[in-house]
Amino acid sequence: MITQSRRRFLAMASLANAAALVGAPKPHAADAPPETTTIRLAKIPGICIAPQYVAEELLRVEGFTDIRYVATTGAYQHEQIAHGEVDISLHFAAPTILAMDGGAPITVLAGVHVGCFELFGNEDIRSIADLKGKIVGVQGLGSSPHVFLTGMASYVGLDPMKDIHWIFSPSVKPMELFAKGKIDAFLGFPPEPQEMRARNIGHVIVNSSVDRPWSQYFCCMLIGHTDFVHRYPIATKRALRAILKATDLCVSEPGRVAQLMVDGGFTAHLDYALQTLNEVPYGVWRDYDPEDTIRFYSLRLREAGMIKSSPQKIIAEGTDWRSLNELKRELKG
């Protein structure tokens, strides 16, 4: 599904030839064609958003002909969407809510999977509460790890601003600072946890794929620029369908998806990619209510003083579950 390898290129060329023989490809028959055939998705260092990395051909099936991956940092992906540089993308729930509270034109469309992040700590840390007085590294203020950790600390009764010594490190990855013993804890996103385990460094305080309550809420949600969602409702639904199909592919064929991510240049390590696909619960998009996730993280961030909006306001103004609800009925698995 990624076109960068020679094999992929040849496969695409044969597909293009086939299409030429029968005329312009018609999109998936069910709905009207998408209002736009161009779509821009984010490409970040993290690989938990695997579904959108392997959705390219499924997006073509839906009628998109110009599919672009815009390189961005996972920590601030919402900014690219808010600025209109990315149309639709998987992104982390908590920082998305923070951006929406700040007025960013973002619409949340679906919850996709749970279990991205893991909190790593040194031997002095056994629980989130032990972060009190400790040095925690994040890429920057308002970055995804910072926002998630703030919510987590707030949930256990800490005052994240006062009780934690934050180290903001945009140039050196917090994971590397942790490996060198310069910080006490950090929040890792795939493939970082997989790499930490391979290097046998630190231990996991919270694994959001299994530890409650974090495992009960989506970490990655599909979000879109509000203008795109409003102007192109059919394209939005088609993009959502392609990405949800790809999400199911992550469950049914993790080996194939891992290889596609490596071939496509989205990650260098096949083993970490495969571990990620086997560890992150990708099969829950039908099961959990995404509104619960928005409500949960809105409350956490409000407790921490990071947002002012009520969960109801965020949900009312920044979510649109119509396509998701339709697809839940149309696509069984």
């Binding site: 599904m1 496969a11 086939a18 490809p25 018609k26 998936h28 339709e326 696509l331 069984k332």
Partner: protein
């Protein structure tokens, strides 16, 4: 005379009770049915391809029947055997409805290699009921277009393998696409139930 009158009244009362019971039963069933009815996605993409017996087969040939349309290839060693075996299991459970009121259609994603003869051997492997299950092939561009219009991705990846998504579509008696099953892990009982629910629709 009096006995006859009493008997008539008893019969009338019984009939009224039965009617009342039916009315009570009817109302919630209608509500539940409407809540549980499968969605209507749109008109199912049409096709005219060649069966394992060399016959021309079109989607419109299945009008009046409920059809399950899926995509496989004969030399597939990973997911297709699971999917075909699952459908064969459901075929057996459908009994006399299979073939007469319900049809399965498996379209190859490898038309270059899956000739009617190859598909015939493949069908025999799974002991399929030929009266109700068509395995279809055709010219590669034509098949590719059908694949695309059903929302399936398929691409050759060398070594005789075809990279493809598993997607099984249910088409109702009017030719409308109603629901799609992703992958091969779907519940065969739910699949069978959905097929039968489409049969029950007016």
């Amino acid at each position: 005379m009096r006995a006859a009158l009493i008997a008539t009244l008893v019969v009338l009362a019984g009939a009224m009770l039965l009617a009342a019971r039916d009315a009570v039963n009817e109302q919630p069933r209608t509500t539940a049915d409407s809540e549980q009815a499968l969605p209507t996605i749109g008109a199912a993409p049409g096709f005219t391809l060649t069966s394992q017996d060399g016959a021309r087969v079109s989607l419109r040939d299945f009008r009046g029947k409920v059809a399950a349309v899926t995509f496989i290839f004969a030399s597939c060693s990973s997911t297709c055997p699971l999917l075909t075996a699952k459908m064969a299991q459901v075929q057996d459970e459908l009994g006399s409805d299979f073939g007469t009121r319900i049809a399965f259609v498996s379209i190859t994603v490898d038309p270059e290699h899956d000739t009617p003869e190859v598909l015939k051997r493949y069908a025999q492997t799974y002991d399929v009921d030929r009266a109700g299950w068509s395995f279809l092939t055709g010219s590669p561009p034509l098949v590719q277009e059908v694949i695309r219009r059903y929302g399936v991705f398929a691409s050759k990846i060398g070594g005789g393998d075809v990279d493809h998504t598993n997607l099984t579509s249910l088409v109702d008696r009017r030719g409308m696409l109603r629901v799609q099953y992703l992958g091969v892990r779907f519940d065969p009982e739910e699949f069978r139930h959905d097929l039968l629910s489409l049969l029950d629709e007016p």
